[in-house]
Subunit: 415 residues, 2 copies
């Protein structure tokens, strides 16, 4: 690896690593935290399964009615119609917790409720809509075929079936199916804890009084949200002035804190005279890269202090967002023991307009979904946060591509 | 309105309202809760803005450098190239919190950092990459045009611009832009609180020992997750046996509880002999509808007790999911004072295979996104939860449509 210090002067980035190389170095430098969390299902929404789950029992565990009606031997209902009904004797009832105990035979039917066990001898259910019971007999106005309105053992899940794979992010219906196989708790990936530091003499907390030339800190509320979306969490962010000695102390303390799994520093990541974070990183630990061929997050840096990953993120909020989505997020996945995939759903859709990009750098292009297709949002103004707010997602344009034409199908990651 | 009791017999649903009519009746019967929550930005992820937010100040509030480099009057850099550089005297420095105080004039430049105020007299920034400073002079190896690498006042947001509209669900970058305009708190829609009751003698809590013909409760963990996804929340769900007197007491108590905004009852919603919920609803309050022309949630009922919305949801988990997404969710939005829109992102994509449906009923068809397009998941087996687990989203097929052909573009709501 070339000495990372070559870059750290007000001379621009002499060398920038590719996005691919940056990601590879992150994965190589970071080890999974190891531990997993066991959480009750009702707290598991959005968590990531640490291990695949196999069905310990079939669902359903017995043949059951899929509708309210009468359980029958299907052949007994031929050729019933509304004008020429079949009449069967009602032999009894099957309720979900009180099955019909005998075997059904002859011209008989069993009144049955949805979810109730299908009696032995029956092979179909005539829905309530097509029958009417009176004085111990049911008039069936429509024939059913064998298996009709019956939920078979294991039809939903056979014993041993994979219910959900490792790495799956849990949605409401996933919690339902995990409960259906009897699980009350589930083993999920840990939520890596980040310390967030925003640096810059000009940065002021939202809500405070603003002096001329000061700006509100937009990065840390966004980072708190991004961590949450990617499966991490954070303590209270702290704002730090451009004071190298102080920043060195704060960084060392965070790296030594057992409750911190990664550190995110915003601002001071570039090549300006006040951009001290990469230098500090190199002094306190190892600077793994500084500068990525990526727009708009070129000045991002990454290193390791006492085994903990540390990102020097650009202070500009869009650059910070881009660096998070493409580099910090994969690091969080890695800490969770997961492949460094993105939590964004991706769709392939045609472009409504040309999407321009500059060759030689990867481009994080914000796009909106419209009736006409994918619309690039403000291709100029890479640093404008409202572009990310107006956007529904982003397209990663690889370094070797100068853009895509209108009508080309591109992969969009949806926010 | 016809007497809802006409339907409540083991004779099937004589009349079913359309999905559209059911939704209209819900909106008519339910009033917004009124109150809004004020929450700090760091707790606002996923919350819904109660009111639109206008920018109280422009972003940026001053012209600033978009890159590290040298602030110049652009015309002074013509026609600089790497072989024929322009040399300017360095008049000083502009840092983000320490601007250059004078007006730039003559053949001079000001060293400037990203985000720092652009000095008066300068109109562009030469990036660090294209210049080198030595002994008080900077050699500029590339010309810039006026405005280059400058972020103009209000370029991101002008004062008074709509930052985000009412009803917007807050993402990380939205928290960033709200902080950028100086907000530390935000007014969001309330989270309606639901009481969840699962009924059925056969229902057992996940994790408990199962007797033959008992089944695990899959609905309540799913409902807890669905409430969260739709912006509501819930207390601890309770499981109730099929005991009408007891259920009547529990329902009355929940309706009288000031901490409950809506009630969800699963099971006992159909026309079986044990399906007592719609009848109880009619006795204790008003049954607004029972039975919707909707697959697979036909038996769903809805009513109001003491002004509180109550849903009788089918016990089958897929039907329960369908009823939630199409009916309960819009009710939650209504309670929040929002239009009854869905929280699902929707995309329009072509079908990879024919999607069959039955005319006369709306159909909640689960689909997967694949390389080839939209794949229907298990068109038979409406009641199978693993179809919803394998699905990435759903297509609502209207009652008048018998399905869509392969290649047709359909609207998919993504889970």
């Amino acid at each position: 690896m070339p000495s990372p210090h070559d870059d750290v002067r007000m001379r621009g980035f002499r060398t920038r690593v590719s996005l691919e190389e940056a990601r590879k170095r992150i994965v190589d430098a970071v080890s999974p935290l190891g531990a997993t969390d066991e959480v009750p299902l009702r707290e598991a929404l959005g968590r990531i399964l640490a291990a695949g789950v196999d069905a310990p029992r079939p669902v359903p565990a017995f043949d059951r009615a899929a509708m309210d009606g009468w359980a029958v031997e299907a052949s007994r209902t031929f050729p019933a119609t509304a004008y020429d009904p079949v009449v069967l004797e009602v032999a009894g009832e099957s309720l979900p917790a009180a099955p019909f105990g005998e075997t059904l035979s002859g011209a008989r039917a069993v009144r049955i409720m949805t979810g109730a066990p299908l009696p032995a001898g029956a092979d179909a259910v005539v829905p309530a809509e097509f029958a009417e019971e009176a004085r111990g007999f049911v008039r069936i106005a429509g024939a059913v075929t064998p298996g009709k309105h019956v939920g078979r053992v294991g039809e939903d899940l056979a014993e041993g079936d994979l219910v959900l794979p490792a790495g799956h992010q849990l949605r409401p219906q996933d919690l339902g199916i995990l409960a259906a196989v009897g699980l009350e708790k589930v083993e999920v990936a840990p939520r890596p804890r980040a310390a967030i530091l925003a640096t810059g003499d000009e940065i002021v907390k939202a809500g405070a009084r603003l002096s001329p030339f000061q700006v509100y800190d937009a990065d840390t509320p966004m980072l708190v949200g991004l961590l949450d979306r990617w499966g991490g969490r954070s303590g209270t962010p702290s704002l730090q002035p451009d004071d190298a000695a102080r920043l060195r102390r704060v960084l060392s303390r965070a790296a030594a804190n057992a409750a911190v799994d990664l550190i995110l520093v915003t601002g001071g990541s570039s090549v300006g005279t006040e951009d001290q974070v990469p230098g500090l990183l190199a002094d306190l630990g190892e600077l793994v890269f500084h500068g990525v061929a990526l727009r708009p997050a070129g000045p991002v840096g990454f290193g390791v202090i006492e085994g903990k990953p540390i990102f020097a993120l650009p202070g500009n909020p869009v650059s910070c967002l881009c660096a998070f989505d493409l580099l910090v997020g994969p690091c969080i996945r890695r800490l969770q023991g997961m492949p460094a995939t993105e939590p964004y759903r991706s769709v392939r859709l045609p472009l409504a307009r040309r999407l321009s990009s500059v060759a030689g750098r990867a481009d994080y292009a914000r796009v909106a979904l419209t009736e006409k297709g994918i619309e690039p949002v403000a291709v100029s103004g890479a640093s404008i946060l409202s572009t990310a707010v107006r956007a529904d997602g982003w397209v990663l344009v690889p370094p070797g591509v100068e853009g895509y034409e209108a009508g080309e199908v591109v992969e969009v990651r949806l926010y």
